[in-house]
Subunit: 145 residues, 2 copies
DNA sequence: AACAAGTGGTAAGAAGTGGAAGAAATATTA
DNA sequence: TAATATTTCTTCCACTTCTTACCACTTGTT
Protein backbone atom coordinates (compact mmCIF):
# COMPACT_ATOMS: atom_id res chain seq x y z
CA UNK A 1 0.00 0.00 0.00
CA UNK A 2 1.46 3.31 -1.10
CA UNK A 3 1.16 6.32 1.16
CA UNK A 4 2.68 9.76 1.52
CA UNK A 5 4.95 11.89 -0.61
CA UNK A 6 8.46 10.93 -1.62
CA UNK A 7 9.92 13.73 -3.73
CA UNK A 8 12.25 12.77 -6.55
CA UNK A 9 13.62 14.09 -9.84
CA UNK A 10 13.01 13.55 -13.54
CA UNK A 11 16.21 13.99 -15.59
CA UNK A 12 16.50 15.70 -19.01
CA UNK A 13 15.86 12.38 -20.69
CA UNK A 14 12.51 12.14 -18.94
CA UNK A 15 13.50 9.34 -16.59
CA UNK A 16 11.82 9.35 -13.18
CA UNK A 17 13.86 7.91 -10.33
CA UNK A 18 11.45 5.77 -8.29
CA UNK A 19 11.88 6.71 -4.61
CA UNK A 20 13.50 3.88 -2.64
CA UNK A 21 10.58 3.62 -0.22
CA UNK A 22 8.09 2.92 -3.01
CA UNK A 23 10.53 0.74 -4.92
CA UNK A 24 10.77 -1.66 -1.99
CA UNK A 25 7.02 -2.29 -2.09
CA UNK A 26 7.03 -2.56 -5.87
CA UNK A 27 9.87 -5.08 -5.87
CA UNK A 28 8.21 -7.36 -3.37
CA UNK A 29 4.62 -7.18 -4.62
CA UNK A 30 4.76 -6.48 -8.34
CA UNK A 31 6.69 -7.12 -11.54
CA UNK A 32 8.82 -4.74 -13.60
CA UNK A 33 6.00 -3.67 -15.88
CA UNK A 34 4.02 -0.47 -15.43
CA UNK A 35 1.28 1.44 -17.14
CA UNK A 36 1.81 5.17 -16.95
CA UNK A 37 -1.05 7.46 -17.93
CA UNK A 38 -3.31 10.32 -16.87
CA UNK A 39 -7.01 11.06 -16.87
CA UNK A 40 -6.72 14.84 -16.88
CA UNK A 41 -3.26 15.64 -18.24
CA UNK A 42 -2.35 17.39 -15.00
CA UNK A 43 -1.27 14.45 -12.90
CA UNK A 44 0.65 11.41 -14.10
CA UNK A 45 -0.51 8.06 -12.72
CA UNK A 46 1.82 5.08 -12.41
CA UNK A 47 0.12 1.70 -12.15
CA UNK A 48 1.84 -1.59 -11.54
CA UNK A 49 0.66 -3.44 -14.62
CA UNK A 50 -1.36 -5.91 -12.54
CA UNK A 51 -3.33 -3.02 -11.00
CA UNK A 52 -4.04 -1.50 -14.39
CA UNK A 53 -5.41 -4.79 -15.59
CA UNK A 54 -7.93 -4.69 -12.76
CA UNK A 55 -9.16 -1.36 -14.05
CA UNK A 56 -9.45 -2.84 -17.54
CA UNK A 57 -11.49 -5.72 -16.16
CA UNK A 58 -13.91 -3.34 -14.52
CA UNK A 59 -14.20 -1.35 -17.74
CA UNK A 60 -14.90 -4.54 -19.65
CA UNK A 61 -18.20 -4.80 -17.82
CA UNK A 62 -19.43 -1.64 -19.55
CA UNK A 63 -20.66 -1.50 -23.14
CA UNK A 64 -18.27 -0.12 -25.73
CA UNK A 65 -20.84 2.59 -26.37
CA UNK A 66 -20.88 3.75 -22.77
CA UNK A 67 -19.83 7.43 -22.97
CA UNK A 68 -17.94 7.33 -19.67
CA UNK A 69 -15.91 4.35 -20.82
CA UNK A 70 -15.17 5.95 -24.18
CA UNK A 71 -14.09 9.24 -22.61
CA UNK A 72 -11.92 7.49 -20.02
CA UNK A 73 -10.20 5.29 -22.57
CA UNK A 74 -9.70 8.16 -24.98
CA UNK A 75 -7.80 10.06 -22.33
CA UNK A 76 -5.83 7.22 -20.80
CA UNK A 77 -4.88 5.91 -24.23
CA UNK A 78 -3.78 9.34 -25.35
CA UNK A 79 -1.38 9.85 -22.44
CA UNK A 80 -0.60 6.25 -21.66
CA UNK A 81 2.28 3.89 -22.33
CA UNK A 82 3.42 0.58 -20.98
CA UNK A 83 6.86 1.05 -19.45
CA UNK A 84 9.53 -1.14 -17.86
CA UNK A 85 11.74 -0.09 -14.96
CA UNK A 86 15.46 0.03 -15.81
CA UNK A 87 18.24 -1.53 -13.75
CA UNK A 88 18.73 1.76 -11.86
CA UNK A 89 15.09 1.93 -10.76
CA UNK A 90 14.02 4.59 -13.25
CA UNK A 91 10.88 4.89 -15.36
CA UNK A 92 10.80 6.67 -18.70
CA UNK A 93 7.76 8.93 -18.55
CA UNK A 94 5.76 9.21 -21.82
CA UNK A 95 6.68 12.42 -23.60
CA UNK A 96 3.15 13.70 -24.26
CA UNK A 97 2.42 13.32 -20.59
CA UNK A 98 5.64 15.01 -19.52
CA UNK A 99 4.74 18.03 -21.59
CA UNK A 100 1.08 18.14 -20.56
CA UNK A 101 1.70 17.80 -16.82
CA UNK A 102 5.04 19.65 -16.68
CA UNK A 103 6.74 16.55 -15.33
CA UNK A 104 10.38 17.59 -15.17
CA UNK A 105 12.99 18.44 -12.53
CA UNK A 106 11.58 18.23 -9.01
CA UNK A 107 8.41 16.16 -8.72
CA UNK A 108 6.19 14.89 -5.94
CA UNK A 109 5.45 11.15 -6.05
CA UNK A 110 2.41 10.50 -3.91
CA UNK A 111 1.15 7.09 -2.81
CA UNK A 112 -2.51 6.44 -3.63
CA UNK A 113 -2.62 3.00 -1.97
CA UNK A 114 -2.67 0.93 -5.19
CA UNK A 115 -0.87 3.30 -7.55
CA UNK A 116 1.32 6.39 -7.60
CA UNK A 117 0.61 9.95 -8.66
CA UNK A 118 3.32 12.23 -10.02
CA UNK A 119 3.03 15.99 -9.95
CA UNK A 120 5.24 18.90 -10.77
CA UNK A 121 6.51 19.93 -7.31
CA UNK A 122 5.70 23.62 -7.65
CA UNK A 123 2.17 22.94 -8.86
CA UNK A 124 1.60 20.50 -6.00
CA UNK A 125 2.84 23.00 -3.43
CA UNK A 126 0.60 25.73 -4.80
CA UNK A 127 -2.37 23.39 -4.57
CA UNK A 128 -1.94 22.64 -0.85
CA UNK A 129 -1.12 26.15 0.29
CA UNK A 130 -3.65 27.81 2.48
CA UNK A 131 -6.10 26.24 4.92
CA UNK A 132 -9.00 23.91 4.18
CA UNK A 133 -12.27 25.66 3.41
CA UNK A 134 -14.75 26.06 6.27
CA UNK A 135 -17.13 23.80 4.36
CA UNK A 136 -14.57 21.02 4.01
CA UNK A 137 -13.65 21.30 7.68
CA UNK A 138 -17.30 20.86 8.56
CA UNK A 139 -17.57 17.66 6.52
CA UNK A 140 -14.46 16.22 8.13
CA UNK A 141 -15.58 17.32 11.58
CA UNK A 142 -18.80 15.35 11.16
CA UNK A 143 -16.73 12.25 10.42
CA UNK A 144 -14.66 12.89 13.54
CA UNK A 145 -11.44 13.55 11.68
CA UNK B 1 -4.16 9.21 25.69
CA UNK B 2 -1.74 12.04 24.96
CA UNK B 3 -2.07 15.28 26.90
CA UNK B 4 -0.07 18.42 27.54
CA UNK B 5 3.05 19.93 26.06
CA UNK B 6 6.46 18.26 26.22
CA UNK B 7 9.04 20.45 24.52
CA UNK B 8 11.85 18.72 22.66
CA UNK B 9 14.36 19.33 19.89
CA UNK B 10 14.77 18.45 16.22
CA UNK B 11 18.44 18.06 15.22
CA UNK B 12 20.05 19.28 11.97
CA UNK B 13 19.27 15.94 10.37
CA UNK B 14 15.58 16.49 11.00
CA UNK B 15 15.25 13.88 13.74
CA UNK B 16 12.68 14.63 16.44
CA UNK B 17 13.44 13.19 19.86
CA UNK B 18 10.14 11.80 21.18
CA UNK B 19 9.66 13.08 24.76
CA UNK B 20 10.01 10.22 27.26
CA UNK B 21 6.52 10.81 28.65
CA UNK B 22 4.88 10.25 25.26
CA UNK B 23 7.25 7.45 24.36
CA UNK B 24 6.12 5.39 27.33
CA UNK B 25 2.51 5.49 26.10
CA UNK B 26 3.58 4.76 22.54
CA UNK B 27 5.69 1.77 23.60
CA UNK B 28 2.92 0.15 25.57
CA UNK B 29 -0.02 0.82 23.23
CA UNK B 30 1.38 1.00 19.72
CA UNK B 31 3.99 -0.36 17.32
CA UNK B 32 7.06 1.37 15.91
CA UNK B 33 5.31 2.65 12.80
CA UNK B 34 4.00 6.19 12.45
CA UNK B 35 2.35 8.35 9.86
CA UNK B 36 3.57 11.93 10.02
CA UNK B 37 1.67 14.57 8.10
CA UNK B 38 -0.14 17.91 8.24
CA UNK B 39 -3.44 19.29 7.03
CA UNK B 40 -2.33 22.92 6.79
CA UNK B 41 1.45 22.86 6.50
CA UNK B 42 1.75 24.81 9.75
CA UNK B 43 1.49 22.03 12.31
CA UNK B 44 2.97 18.55 11.99
CA UNK B 45 0.77 15.68 13.14
CA UNK B 46 2.25 12.38 14.33
CA UNK B 47 -0.13 9.43 14.22
CA UNK B 48 0.60 5.95 15.52
CA UNK B 49 0.01 4.02 12.32
CA UNK B 50 -3.00 2.20 13.76
CA UNK B 51 -4.68 5.54 14.48
CA UNK B 52 -4.02 6.78 10.97
CA UNK B 53 -5.65 3.69 9.53
CA UNK B 54 -8.79 4.54 11.48
CA UNK B 55 -8.90 7.89 9.73
CA UNK B 56 -8.47 6.15 6.38
CA UNK B 57 -11.39 3.87 7.24
CA UNK B 58 -13.61 6.84 8.01
CA UNK B 59 -12.58 8.52 4.78
CA UNK B 60 -13.38 5.37 2.84
CA UNK B 61 -17.04 6.01 3.61
CA UNK B 62 -16.98 9.13 1.45
CA UNK B 63 -17.07 9.13 -2.36
CA UNK B 64 -13.80 9.80 -4.14
CA UNK B 65 -15.44 12.88 -5.63
CA UNK B 66 -16.27 14.39 -2.25
CA UNK B 67 -14.40 17.72 -2.24
CA UNK B 68 -13.57 17.56 1.47
CA UNK B 69 -12.03 14.12 1.06
CA UNK B 70 -10.07 15.20 -1.99
CA UNK B 71 -8.74 18.34 -0.30
CA UNK B 72 -7.84 16.48 2.89
CA UNK B 73 -6.06 13.65 1.07
CA UNK B 74 -4.20 16.01 -1.25
CA UNK B 75 -2.77 17.83 1.75
CA UNK B 76 -2.04 14.88 3.99
CA UNK B 77 -0.51 12.98 1.10
CA UNK B 78 1.62 15.94 0.10
CA UNK B 79 3.08 16.47 3.56
CA UNK B 80 2.92 12.88 4.76
CA UNK B 81 5.33 9.98 5.11
CA UNK B 82 5.26 6.69 6.93
CA UNK B 83 8.14 6.66 9.41
CA UNK B 84 9.72 4.23 11.86
CA UNK B 85 11.18 5.21 15.24
CA UNK B 86 14.92 4.55 15.65
CA UNK B 87 16.58 2.78 18.58
CA UNK B 88 17.15 6.13 20.31
CA UNK B 89 13.49 7.07 20.19
CA UNK B 90 13.75 9.58 17.34
CA UNK B 91 11.51 10.17 14.34
CA UNK B 92 12.79 11.50 11.04
CA UNK B 93 10.37 14.29 10.08
CA UNK B 94 9.54 14.51 6.35
CA UNK B 95 11.57 17.24 4.70
CA UNK B 96 8.71 19.01 2.90
CA UNK B 97 6.91 19.27 6.21
CA UNK B 98 9.97 20.48 8.11
CA UNK B 99 10.37 23.29 5.63
CA UNK B 100 6.69 24.21 5.47
CA UNK B 101 6.09 24.24 9.24
CA UNK B 102 9.56 25.43 10.27
CA UNK B 103 10.09 22.28 12.30
CA UNK B 104 13.67 22.66 13.55
CA UNK B 105 15.49 23.34 16.81
CA UNK B 106 13.11 23.86 19.71
CA UNK B 107 9.63 22.46 19.14
CA UNK B 108 6.47 21.94 21.19
CA UNK B 109 5.02 18.43 21.12
CA UNK B 110 1.42 18.56 22.23
CA UNK B 111 -0.76 15.58 23.08
CA UNK B 112 -4.08 15.50 21.17
CA UNK B 113 -5.40 12.35 22.87
CA UNK B 114 -4.92 9.96 19.92
CA UNK B 115 -2.05 11.71 18.16
CA UNK B 116 0.65 14.33 18.64
CA UNK B 117 1.04 17.80 17.21
CA UNK B 118 4.43 19.38 16.62
CA UNK B 119 4.94 23.12 16.34
CA UNK B 120 7.85 25.46 16.02
CA UNK B 121 8.27 26.70 19.60
CA UNK B 122 8.42 30.40 18.74
CA UNK B 123 5.32 30.21 16.57
CA UNK B 124 3.46 28.35 19.31
CA UNK B 125 4.43 30.96 21.89
CA UNK B 126 3.30 33.81 19.66
CA UNK B 127 0.00 32.08 19.14
CA UNK B 128 -0.87 31.87 22.84
CA UNK B 129 0.24 35.39 23.73
CA UNK B 130 -2.48 37.89 24.53
CA UNK B 131 -5.97 37.29 25.88
CA UNK B 132 -8.74 35.19 24.34
CA UNK B 133 -11.05 37.10 22.01
CA UNK B 134 -14.30 38.39 23.47
CA UNK B 135 -16.20 36.10 21.13
CA UNK B 136 -14.28 33.02 22.27
CA UNK B 137 -14.75 33.95 25.93
CA UNK B 138 -18.49 34.20 25.33
CA UNK B 139 -18.66 30.72 23.78
CA UNK B 140 -16.75 29.22 26.69
CA UNK B 141 -18.82 31.14 29.24
CA UNK B 142 -21.98 29.64 27.84
CA UNK B 143 -20.53 26.21 28.40
CA UNK B 144 -19.61 27.16 31.95
CA UNK B 145 -15.86 26.86 31.38
C1' DA C 1 26.19 7.05 42.24
C1' DA C 2 23.45 4.80 39.15
C1' DC C 3 20.16 4.93 35.65
C1' DA C 4 17.36 7.13 32.32
C1' DA C 5 17.08 10.57 28.81
C1' DG C 6 19.00 13.21 25.31
C1' DT C 7 22.71 14.38 21.73
C1' DG C 8 26.11 14.03 18.31
C1' DG C 9 29.17 11.61 15.16
C1' DT C 10 30.67 8.10 11.84
C1' DA C 11 31.16 4.72 8.47
C1' DA C 12 29.06 1.22 5.48
C1' DG C 13 25.91 0.70 2.22
C1' DA C 14 22.13 2.37 -0.38
C1' DA C 15 20.37 5.74 -3.41
C1' DG C 16 20.89 8.86 -6.97
C1' DT C 17 23.18 10.87 -11.22
C1' DG C 18 25.46 11.45 -15.43
C1' DG C 19 27.33 9.80 -19.38
C1' DA C 20 29.06 6.59 -22.98
C1' DA C 21 28.28 2.91 -26.09
C1' DG C 22 25.19 0.36 -28.76
C1' DA C 23 20.81 -0.17 -31.28
C1' DA C 24 17.10 1.44 -33.86
C1' DA C 25 14.85 4.61 -36.60
C1' DT C 26 14.89 8.17 -39.90
C1' DA C 27 16.79 10.81 -43.44
C1' DT C 28 19.86 11.52 -47.45
C1' DT C 29 21.91 10.71 -51.67
C1' DA C 30 23.44 8.11 -55.58
C1' DT D 1 15.31 1.75 -54.40
C1' DA D 2 19.26 0.50 -51.96
C1' DA D 3 23.24 1.93 -49.43
C1' DT D 4 24.99 4.94 -46.31
C1' DA D 5 24.89 8.71 -43.10
C1' DT D 6 22.86 11.02 -39.27
C1' DT D 7 20.18 11.43 -35.40
C1' DT D 8 17.52 9.86 -31.72
C1' DC D 9 16.51 6.61 -28.37
C1' DT D 10 17.71 3.11 -24.95
C1' DT D 11 20.37 0.32 -22.14
C1' DC D 12 24.08 -0.27 -19.34
C1' DC D 13 28.10 1.02 -16.58
C1' DA D 14 30.69 3.72 -13.26
C1' DC D 15 31.00 7.32 -10.12
C1' DT D 16 29.31 10.47 -6.39
C1' DT D 17 26.32 11.79 -2.89
C1' DC D 18 23.58 11.03 0.83
C1' DT D 19 21.05 8.44 4.10
C1' DT D 20 20.47 5.69 8.05
C1' DA D 21 21.62 2.48 11.45
C1' DC D 22 24.55 2.13 15.03
C1' DC D 23 27.74 3.49 18.61
C1' DA D 24 29.37 6.27 22.21
C1' DC D 25 29.26 10.14 24.93
C1' DT D 26 26.96 13.85 27.74
C1' DT D 27 23.52 15.60 30.60
C1' DG D 28 20.00 15.31 33.83
C1' DT D 29 17.27 12.99 37.50
C1' DT D 30 16.19 10.19 41.47
Amino acid sequence: MFRGNHPTRVDEKGRLKVPAEFKRTLDEKYGQQFYITSRDGKVAEIYPFEEWQRIEERLAKLSNFNPAKKAFLMRTNYYGQQVEMDAQGRLLMPQVLREAAEIKGEVAVMGMLTYLEVRNMDLARAQVEGPLSAEDEKTLDELGI
